[in-house]
């Protein structure tokens, strides 16, 4: 059975297999066959993200991703969306620091359509790209920014944290959404140049996963993508390497109309693709994942000083990863009280390391998260592309769980001691400008 793995004994590849191919134009292709359900997922990663953007043009990679849905030589207007949805498929695209991905999940018998569509825009986007599309999608993206970040309490916290953790001029200093001013400044020529530079078959990985005939699939890929010329115009991203630790605590206090005080912090952590990154993932899970973590037990259950407390990990391959602490205070609790409790817990963890029970729980949680990601054809396709683009080997996706389960408590303690230190963090404190929740009882009564 293609996915006949159990969660414990055989955790790892889970019986999944993938084959790798390369077209003459440099397009890398990864296929993974699984006939359990009549679905085929197509995923295309372009090796370009916000880290490739230059000063004054932040947000361009993401704006460009929107333009990829505005038509190409044989696809008019919103045809990409219309054709996929009309075939019973679902689709989207996303942009991160390190890559831009496009994906379609199709009923298995409509796979060829998705390949035709992706090839058409890879080879001919510029024949359809015009000023009208750019102006329209510029407005859409600015509204996306307002909706997801600017009009939401704490919505720009992540942007502020990354700006501190990665210094001015660093490729990860700004987030993929970009600034309003830079979005306004992007021109049609910028978009064209971006496409000519980064959208080439030899700068992409295509994965096709699910109920497929590999031979037929490869023939279709060759037919539709094979004649798209590769080119070597790509500019490498600026160097993302940084010292392992920031060297001193950075701090910003924001006074805004937010519902409660908050303590957030970003820690520089090991780059993805290393054992240390997996160890860091386990450390953050023990400390701040789920409802049995050290910080949750301390702040939410025992001290009752926080309404929510947790850690998240942003794995990055081209720069230090980012550990993100997020604590929202309870009632009138002040930030220093939270901060000293957090420091105490982190220092204690660095000194004693995880208990065997904590390791077991953290590994079980990360294992389930992996099983969730691999539960859909689209999830598997995305992971295969991720390992192919960022680490040069899609097969690593199939053994990722095993690597997490292989980490020792010692390694978890070591990474915590080395990285989860006050001199390796950027702290963001929110102080509400309005009276805090505890004193503002009338609002709810107005409902």
């Amino acid at each position: 059975m293609p996915m006949g793995h159990t969660a414990t004994e055989q955790a790892g590849s889970g019986g999944l297999t993938a084959t790798e191919h390369r077209l003459a134009n440099g397009l890398r292709v990864v296929l993974s066959e699984d006939h359990l359900t009549p679905v085929a997922a197509v995923c295309l990663w372009y090796d370009v993200g916000s880290r490739h953007e230059v000063k004054g043009r932040t947000g361009l990679a993401h704006l460009f991703e929107h333009l990829m849905f505005q038509g190409s030589a044989q696809v008019t207007g919103n045809g990409h969306f219309e054709l996929v949805q009309g075939a019973g498929g679902s689709l989207n695209g996303t942009t991160s620091f390190e890559r831009t991905n496009y994906f379609e999940t199709m009923p298995a018998h409509q796979l060829e359509l998705a390949l035709w569509l992706e090839a058409d825009r890879m080879g001919s986007l510029l024949t359809a790209l015009d000023e009208e599309s750019l102006e329209n999608q510029r407005d859409v993206v600015k509204n996306e920014r307002r909706q997801r970040y600017d009009n939401v309490p704490y919505g720009t916290a992540f942007e502020k944290l990354t700006a501190m953790a990665y210094p001015e001029g660093h490729p990860y200093h700004h987030t993929p959404i970009g600034s309003m001013a830079d979005l306004d400044a992007a021109s049609l020529e910028d978009a064209r140049a971006f496409f000519r530079t980064y959208y080439a078959p030899n700068n992409a990985v295509l994965s096709v996963v699910g109920d497929i005939d590999p031979e037929q699939t490869l023939a279709w890929v060759e037919k539709y993508f094979g004649s798209i010329p590769g080119h070597e115009g790509k500019q490498p991203p600026r160097d993302g390497s940084l010292p392992d630790v920031i060297g001193k605590e950075l701090r910003e206090v924001v006074e805004e109309d937010v519902p409660s005080r908050a303590l957030m912090a970003a820690y520089r952590l090991p780059q993805d693709g290393t054992r240390e990154a997996d160890a860091a993932d386990l450390a953050l899970t023990v400390l701040g994942g789920g409802e049995s973590s050290r910080l949750y037990n301390r702040l939410v259950r025992r001290d009752r000083t926080a309404v929510a407390a947790g850690f998240g990990l942003l794995r990055l391959a081209g720069a230090p990863s980012l550990g993100w602490l997020d604590v929202k205070t309870s009632g009138g609790v002040e930030v220093p009280e939270i901060e000293s409790a957090v420091d105490e817990e982190l220092a204690r963890f660095a000194a004693e390391g995880p208990s065997p029970e904590e390791m077991e729980r953290a590994q079980a949680q990360l294992e389930r998260e992996w099983l969730d990601r691999l539960a859909t054809a689209a999830g598997r396709a995305d992971e295969l592309c991720r390992y192919a683009v960022l680490f040069g080997d899609p097969q690593l996706a199939l053994t990722a769980v095993r690597r997490v389960l292989d980490i020792t408590p010692q390694e978890v303690q070591e990474v915590a001691a080395a990285r989860l230190r006050p001199d390796n963090r950027a702290v963001l404190v929110y102080e509400p400008t309005e009276p805090t929740a505890a004193e503002d009882n009338d609002e709810e009564a107005d409902q």
């Binding site: 969660a7 889970g14 009549p38 060829e112 600017d150 409902q447």
Partner: protein
């Protein structure tokens, strides 16, 4: 314009699809345990993360007067300690299984959702059964949950979408209806909740005889009957007592409420009323018509508001069941939601109403209907790849007193629904003069332009 890259590429005509492969929404097996618990299960090969959903008939309407939120606190308190583990131990044991356990209370009842790798299903089912069978409801934990809930309320009020939803419910439903008030209670009501109130609600409503367990996943190597007998089978309780729900009424007189947010860079829109639910014959046509109106970015609303005008990142129309029951007294919330930049609020609403008027005047096209059917029916195998998706739909069907083959039949009915029926359903669902509009935004900027539209009386409330 021409481009060297595209000129070099060989173009091929758009391919036609192959023959569709058969797929059907899974038909679950239904059984009843000796304790009265109804069990639906479905084996889904390859789905290593098993999903378990428990439907408990404990509607919000059954909360005692003045104790709105007690169902929510009870649902949360189920996992805060049992007769075997205290709260911290219970959370640790669950996570040791790699499991997640979520519970929440809504109008039809309380839903508890477990997800766990199949290899640890037995153990996690045991913990779930403990939570349902013998919750400890310790005073200190309930008190903590109450305080935690009170802390959450200002965060919800600050969220434009949540704030809009609360304001719409308050406008639509009569003040004495539970539906008019926040599902998880207000500061005033939550403050009154204690462990005794939680236990009383539990004693009155949580019992296997009125509950249903839905279990979906790859059961290869799992003895499900034995696992159930030892876990959920050990849950005992009094026999079923029928709960009679009160009728749902709503005032959908066209009007506008602005929830004032000085300085907001966007206006959150929520435009709604109530209408047919899933027991109504019109439901498939309403699903189809609503999709054509605002199901995706190529639907009528986004075609104009997003892809032509750029006013928004996206506006959606949807029908969400509030409560649905076999005796036909249910209802669904029919709504249009999204956010637009502050300066575009008036023009966006004007265009939105124009889209609705054009729909009423000219109807849907056959092409629109065809694409919508192909999408709604065609995506089923994708939508139901995971165990959690299948379990969620099966549990909804049970909660809404629908037959187990409802979803399978819905696809058949959608495919048979014509353009005329879909048009009529959409127009009836969103009549231009019977829509309550909530705008969370900067009143100083948007009040006058909105008044000028003539879509109903405009009132402004404090944000």
């Amino acid at each position: 314009m021409s481009d060297a890259v595209s000129n070099a590429m060989t173009f091929h005509p758009q391919p036609a699809g192959g023959e569709p492969k058969p797929w059907a929404f899974p038909a679950p097996e239904r059984a009843q345990l000796p304790n009265g618990l109804t069990v639906l299960h479905s084996h889904r090969p390859g789905q290593q993360v098993v999903a378990v959903e428990i439907d408990i008939v404990a509607p919000l309407e059954a909360e005692p007067a003045g104790l709105d939120g007690v169902a929510t606190i009870m649902a949360r308190a189920l996992s805060e300690g049992t007769d075997k583990h205290d709260a911290e131990e219970f959370a640790a044991e669950l996570e040791r299984c790699g499991a997640t356990l979520d519970s929440h209370a809504d109008h039809p009842g309380v839903r508890v959702s477990l997800e766990v790798p199949a290899s640890r299903l037995d153990k996690a089912l045991g913990l779930l059964a403990d939570a349902l069978r013998a919750p400890a409801f310790p005073d200190g934990e309930v008190e903590r949950l109450v305080r935690n809930r009170l802390d959450e309320i200002p965060h919800e009020l600050a969220n434009p979408a949540r704030r809009a939803a609360m304001a719409l419910s308050k406008e639509l439903f009569p003040a004495d209806s539970r539906m008019s008030r926040p599902r998880q209670g207000t500061e005033e009501t939550v403050t009154r909740i204690d462990a005794a109130a939680v236990r009383a609600f539990y004693e009155a409503h949580v019992r296997p005889a009125t509950a249903t367990a839905v279990i979906v996943g790859d059961f290869t190597g799992v003895d499900l009957d034995a696992a159930l007998a030892e876990t959920l089978g050990a849950w005992t309780g009094s026999p079923a007592e029928p709960v009679k729900a009160s009728p749902i009424t709503a005032d959908d007189t066209g009007r506008v409420v602005i929830v004032d947010r000085p300085g907001a860079v966007q206006t959150q829109l929520l435009i709604g009323r109530i209408g047919a639910d899933r027991h109504d014959r019109v439901w498939p046509a309403q699903v189809l018509g609503t999709y054509c109106l605002g199901g995706t970015l190529t639907s009528r609303l986004d075609r104009v508001l997003r892809e032509e005008k750029g006013y928004t990142y996206g506006v959606r129309a949807f029908g969400q069941v509030l409560r649905s029951s076999a005796d036909g007294d249910g209802a669904a919330m029919l709504a249009i939601s999204g956010s637009v930049d502050t300066a575009s609020t008036g023009p966006a609403l004007e265009d939105l109403w124009k889209v609705l008027r054009t729909l009423a005047a000219e109807g849907l096209t056959d092409a629109e209907r065809d694409v919508a059917v192909q999408n709604l029916v065609g995506v089923a195998p994708l939508k139901y790849e995971t165990a959690a998706a299948v379990a969620g739909t099966l549990a909804d069907q049970v909660e809404q007193q629908l037959p187990d083959d409802y979803q399978a039949q819905l696809y058949v009915r959608l495919a048979r629904t014509g353009t005329v029926e879909a048009t009529a359903a959409a127009v009836n669902a969103f009549p231009v003069d019977r829509l309550v509009t909530v705008l969370v935004g900067d009143a100083a900027e948007i009040e006058e332009p909105v008044k000028a539209l003539g879509i109903g009386e405009v009132t402004v409330v404090k944000g």
